[in-house]
Homo-oligomer: 148 residues x 2
């Protein structure tokens, strides 16, 4: 993810540990991968990377760990406009939610933080009296290089 992150290395491990979640070799590997990912990964990509460290990891363990992280609100699940199948992509939860733009031609994903986005969420909470747990804004279209 292009946006810089300032969390200490291993913060997912420490965060979960402090909640009393059991730490295994497999989980440690998966958490490290998600934490240091330079772009959004899907379950299959996480599996492949994890197996480089721990060859025996099963894809089920990936799904179970992702679900654990979702439950604890430590990652966000994205669709990125379902550009290639129905899989999901994951990113660690950042302090500030952001918009995801996916280029329908080249597939590049860009992120964008915006005060209007923050304001829109506040508006929904207030005017619709809706308590937000997750807000996801995804845009599909053409990036500046592709619409030339």
């Amino acid at each position: 993810m292009p946006l810089p992150h300032t969390e200490a290395p291993g913060y997912l491990v420490s965060n979960l540990a402090s909640r009393g979640v059991r730490m295994t070799r497999q989980r440690r590997a998966i958490l490290g991968i998600i934490e240091t990912a330079s772009h959004h990964l899907d379950a299959a990509q996480i599996l492949r990377k994890a197996q480089k460290q721990e060859p025996e990891v099963d894809r089920v363990t990936i799904y179970r760990t992702l679900s654990l992280l979702k439950r604890h609100g430590l990652i966000d699940e994205l669709d990125l406009m379902h550009l290639q199948g129905e899989k999901h992509f994951y990113e660690r939860k950042t302090p500030r939610e952001h918009v995801h733009m996916t280029c329908l031609r080249c597939g590049r994903v860009t992120e964008f933080e915006s005060r209007l986005f923050d304001g829109l969420k506040k508006q929904v909470q207030k005017e619709c009296r809706f308590q937000i747990a997750v807000a996801r804004m995804e845009i599909g279209g053409y990036c500046s290089s592709c619409r030339a």
Copy 2:
């Protein structure tokens, strides 16, 4: 969908016809269902409704028709926070895009039009030089009745 729609009845049929798309009994049924739906439907629900009119319709025809409508920009595809499996929900494209809020407890879906949402899209187009084809904002959380 709660938001009122002002299109003439059969506008999906006429719209497609005017583009030279062939009209079959099956398509007519499916289009009518989507057009008059009072809430967001998934492929399986559309199939069940369609089969009441045309018992022979196959689920493949539903998917092919949905894909046709997507291609022509006549419907929007929603995830509604994947509250129950990974299926998609569909709604006819309205003149103004809106936010979808899904209650994680009762499952109710509410829609919300907002000038901030329109403004955010303009901002993305301008500041990121990104030409928007589809913008989808989905929120998961707790509606006013559920968080009592």
